[in-house]
């Protein structure tokens, strides 16, 4: 599904280059559930953002669904991730002004999905996530776990092939975290959605099919479970 070849990312400060990622090679297949681990500052988020095309590598070649991402223009790149990738954040990043329903609906608006179809899709996912009763509430009226649930529902609404989750359980207690992990596992198994998550929790990492350990901008180890 995606492939990174000799990907590097560095920041120059005062003439010196600080490498955040250093010649990383990574291939992820359709249907995988990858957990990325590593100490703080090791470049996990950077790697995830490059995969998600929110960030661009300083060097290297990147392919997504056989498209050479490093050769694409901004517009094409954003069209590519708009259609295929859903993002889940540690801080949920729901839009405060919008209700649960509207938050989930937003990606569809940006893809110009017809109103009737939008309604059906949102109703369907609210039902699946058991949050129909909460649809008119605003984010601040929800618990952290519920907010993350909405965040995931929003990431899934446009039926992405790939979910990128940066420490999705980082702000949650362990019980809420478990529920989210179960959800990812179910999505991965039953719907065949590819999942790549960053996590600090050894336990949560075990939900996946592969664990990648990052250290100083390099892949230290890659363990298939």
């Amino acid at each position: 599904m995606l492939s990174l070849k000799q990907i590097s990312k560095y920041y120059s400060s005062g003439g010196a280059k600080t490498y955040v990622l250093n010649r990383v090679d990574l291939d992820v297949d359709q249907g995988e559930f990858v957990s990325i681990m590593g100490p703080s500052g090791s470049g996990k988020s950077t790697l995830l953002n490059i995969i998600g095309m929110l960030d661009q590598p300083s060097e290297g070649y990147q392919y997504f669904l056989n498209e050479p991402v490093h050769q694409l223009k901004d517009k094409q790149r954003s069209a590519l991730y708009k259609q295929n990738i859903g993002f889940v954040f540690q801080a949920y990043h729901l839009i405060d002004e919008l209700t649960v329903y509207e938050n989930i609906e937003t990606p569809l608006l940006y893809q110009d999905v017809k109103s009737a179809e939008r309604k059906a899709l949102v109703a369907d996912i609210l039902d699946r996530f058991n949050i129909v009763g909460k649809k008119d509430l605003f984010p601040e009226q929800l618990s952290g776990g519920q907010q993350q649930l909405v965040g995931i529902a929003r990431a899934l609404i446009s039926k992405p092939k790939l979910i990128l989750a940066d420490e999705p359980t980082g702000n949650l207690n362990s019980k809420q975290g478990e529920e989210i992990m179960e959800l990812f596992k179910k999505l991965n198994k039953e719907d065949g959605v590819t999942v790549i998550q960053v996590t600090h929790s050894e336990k949560n990492a075990q939900y996946g099919s592969r664990i990648i350990n990052l250290l100083d901008g390099k892949i230290d180890s890659s363990i298939i479970l």
């Binding site: 839009i95 405060d96 919008l98």
Partner: protein, 807 residues
């Protein structure tokens, strides 16, 4: 999608209601001031435009070699022009207010009398040519002793507009004449430069009997110049050709006028000149109009600048939302549209509230300007369209910039952490604040200078006294016993214990002269001396004493000089300016000299120069003529318990002048009225300065809020390290106060230049002082400091632990 944008716009405006309120406040203020000024501008621009023949009308004038122009022409020129110059369809003469006096209506049982000032003699086609709508009657005044009334006047006299056929006796300088009403016309619009409540037919004055000895008023005469002449030309007439032919004709009629030129002023330019240094006089002021327009534009630009400032400062709070939306797939165009919608909502609400404000404050504004303005005056020409275009394009520009800033955020950075976020254009925002303060300071300086000048004019030694002087208007009805009545009235009033002095004169200070004339020289005149003009005033023996005007040489007039009138006595008093213009030496030897004005007139006295009219003008050379005058009676008196005193004077007046309305004014008020424009301008500048400063402070407040939030971590750390509140307030405020100082430096020379030009319009004026600039700067600094320090103190006293944790 738009519905969605709209919904979100409302929600986020509500969510950030403090910010939205501040933001809207600026816009509302800006729009309100803008609309008010636009009303005034539209009103001025529309002056006279209701005439259907607007494009074919012109006013005639004499242009002299000296560059001066004169709009009072001999009425006899009118008919001659029409028959001799091709291209002229109609000539209409207006003897403006020449017929003012008392109108009496016999209602059978009693006689109702009304004093009317705006009574003009006009030609028969007047109403037709100027297309004043006629409500009743045929609209013609071709016959002698016919008249037309305005609607309001007709209702005042008869209770309704059905006045045609009624007979009214008019008592004015031409005696008592009966006139028959032929027409009632719609009241002349307030922004018409031609105004009259009563129109009398010019034809009437062709009869010598009906002129009552005032042969100067003969409509066929070429001697005295007292009539306005308007011409109606063909559609595409060549005005310069007509003007040349009219000039030729005039030279033929009056061989000694070879140097005069007959000018044609198109009606379009009667109210507002088409440019500066226009050779003809106008009723309105282009300068004032442009000043108003500039103020309006500046205020509205300040409001938008404020919007930009506040919104971009607030953008920091919106950054995360922008980032999330981008990650969710929003394109930049979609985001721009969303934030533009917000601007649109904000602007629309502000505009709506501004309209309400205008409706609510309209009455106050009107009474202040003494004009009938309303939103409806905008409904003319391109004003709606122009105003709407301006507001929409300004909104698009301001909103567009804000949207552009917002939508340019890098999503990755915004969702990661606020610490990485730099909201661009900080220097731009500083520039905008400087701009706001430059404008505010200019307004403040302008206000200070203006009021200093007004103050100066009021405190200027006029060379005479106007306080505690009451001017009673003399009788208008002319009859054989009038002179005796006036003398009796004067004597009786002098008996009143509170009256210290009394003088009768035919005009008074602050009001005008009796006439101006050339052709006066000393006995051995230099060539050209006879072209110099003198202002003539007819007064009695008490005039100088009553007004405390100092006599420099000789004496004033004496009672015997009055008795025979100036035409027989042949004595004059001069002011110093007249002495200089005549070419005499300024010493006592002048007494007894004779000046030539057809006959010889003996100089019996010289008075010190005094400001007969306001300080706009240089003191004119004046010549006083003695007579038993009765135009005005000036009473020098104690003004305490005025109402009982007034009753006593009134009863004496009515006893001696039965049937005459009693009217009076206080001289100091009459005098102050001359500065009405300056007072209005002053008030407008105060309002503008106030608005500009207020809006600028809003901008500053926004910036300070932003800065305080941006530096909250720094403040927290400094506090933990032991900084006190004062030093923290300093830290934040200093930045902004620097901006105000920069603004003062930029504003001062601009303000100096503008006000210097303005002051040049006064013959007697102040010089600008450094303290005027300094106090404007101090005022701005103080206001800015007050605004900023509130935010700074709030930030400085906040709990550092809390602010650090939330980062």
């Amino acid at each position: 999608m738009f519905k969605n944008h709209l919904k979100i716009a409302f929600r986020s405006l509500w969510r950030n209601r403090a910010f939205s309120a501040i933001n809207m406040f600026g816009l509302i203020l800006g729009f309100t001031v803008f609309i008010f000024i636009a009303e005034y501008v539209a009103y001025e621009w529309n002056a006279n435009r209701f005439h259907q023949n607007f494009n074919q009308l012109s006013r005639l004038s004499f242009l002299y070699k000296t560059g001066e122009s004169n709009y009072y022409l001999p009425p006899g020129l009118g008919p001659t022009l029409k028959s001799n110059v091709p291209g002229i369809k109609q000539v209409v003469r207006i003897g403006e207010n020449v017929g003012s006096g008392v109108l009496s209506i016999n209602t059978g049982a009693s006689k109702n009398v009304f004093r009317e000032e705006r009574v003009s003699f006009v030609d028969g086609q007047f109403l037709k040519v100027f297309t004043f709508p006629v409500l009743q009657g045929n609209g013609l005044l071709n016959e002698p002793q016919t008249m037309a009334l305005s609607k309001t006047t007709a209702i005042k006299y008869f209770g309704n507009v059905n006045a045609v056929g009624k007979v009214i006796q008019v008592n004015n300088q031409f005696g008592n004449t009966d006139y028959t009403v032929t027409s009632v016309y719609q009241d002349m619009p307030q922004n018409s430069d031609i105004q009259a409540d009563v129109l009398l037919s010019y034809k009437t004055l062709e009869s010598a009997a009906l002129r009552n000895g005032n042969d100067w008023a003969d409509p066929t005469g070429l001697g005295s110049e007292y009539s306005y002449l308007y011409i109606l030309t063909n559609e595409n007439a060549n005005l310069s050709q007509i003007s040349a032919q009219a000039t030729n004709l005039w030279h033929k009629l009056k061989p000694d006028s070879k140097n005069d030129h007959v000018g044609l002023q198109p009606f379009q330019n009667l109210h507002i000149a088409p440019g500066f240094s226009y050779q003809f006089q106008t009723y309105g002021s282009l300068l004032l109009l442009i000043a108003f327009l500039s103020v309006a534009m500046l205020i509205i630009v300040i409001a938008w600048v404020n919007y930009i400032n506040l919104s971009t400062a607030q953008a920091l709070n919106r950054a995360r939302e922008v980032g999330v939306r981008k990650v969710l797939g929003a394109s930049r165009g979609q985001l721009t549209l969303q934030y533009l919608t917000e601007t649109f909502v904000l602007t629309t609400i502000s505009l709506g509230v501004a309209m309400l404000m205008v409706l609510m404050l309209q009455a106050a504004y009107n009474s202040f300007l003494e004009k009938q303005l309303s939103l409806a005056v905008l409904n003319a020409g391109w004003f709606w369209l122009g105003g709407a275009t301006l507001i929409i394009s300004g909104t698009l520009l301001a909103g567009g910039y804000v949207s552009w800033v917002l939508s340019s955020f890098n999503p990755l950075k915004t969702i990661r952490s606020k610490a990485f976020l730099k909201v661009g254009g900080l220097s731009l925002r500083r520039g905008l604040v400087v701009f706001q303060f430059v404008t505010s300071i200019i307004f403040i300086i302008a206000t200070i200078v203006l009021y200093e000048q007004l103050q100066y004019m009021q405190n200027q030694d006029l060379g005479m006294k106007v306080e505690q002087r009451l001017a009673v208007t003399g009788p208008s009805i002319i009859n054989s016993s009038q002179r005796d009545n006036s003398i009796a009235f004067e004597n009786e009033v002098r008996q009143l214990p509170f009256v210290k002095q009394l003088s009768a004169s035919n005009n008074i200070p602050g009001q005008g002269y009796n006439f101006s004339t050339a052709g006066i020289t000393k006995s051995n005149a230099n060539p050209g001396d006879d072209k110099k003009s003198y202002a003539m005033l007819i007064v009695d023996d008490q005039f100088f004493k009553t007004y405390d005007i100092n006599i420099k040489y000789g004496t004033g007039f004496t009672l015997p000089m009055l008795a025979h009138g100036w035409t027989k006595t042949k004595k004059v008093v001069l002011n110093e300016a007249a002495v200089r213009q005549l070419g005499y030496n300024d010493n006592n030897a002048i007494i007894g000299q004779k000046i030539k004005w057809n006959n010889d007139f003996e100089i019996v006295g010289v008075v010190k120069d005094y400001h007969h009219l306001g300080l706009h003008e240089q003191i004119k050379p004046m010549i006083f003529l003695p007579a038993v005058a009765d135009g005005f009676f000036t009473l020098k008196m104690e003004t305490a318990n005025m109402s009982t005193k007034m009753e006593q004077i009134r009863s004496l007046y009515q006893k001696n002048f039965p049937g005459e309305p009693f009217s009076y004014s206080f001289l100091d008020e009459v005098y102050d009225k001359q500065y009405k424009t300056e007072y209005q301008l002053g008030k407008i500048f105060i309002a503008a300065a106030f608005t500009a400063v207020l809006i600028a402070c809003m901008g500053l407040l926004g910036l300070a809020m932003f800065a305080a939030r941006r530096r909250i971590k720094e403040i927290g750390i400094r506090k933990i390290l032991g900084a006190n509140v004062f030093s923290l307030v300093n830290l934040i405020s200093a930045d902004f106060l620097k901006l105000v100082v920069v603004a003062l430096v930029v504003a001062s020379p601009i303000a100096w230049y503008i006000m210097h030009r303005w002051l040049e319009g006064f013959a007697y004026r102040i010089t600008m002082q450094w303290w005027m600039f300094a106090s404007a700067g101090l005022m701005a600094l103080f206001i800015a400091f007050a605004t900023v320090s509130i935010q700074a103190i709030k930030a400085a006293v906040s709990n550092p632990v809390k602010s650090l944790r939330s980062e």
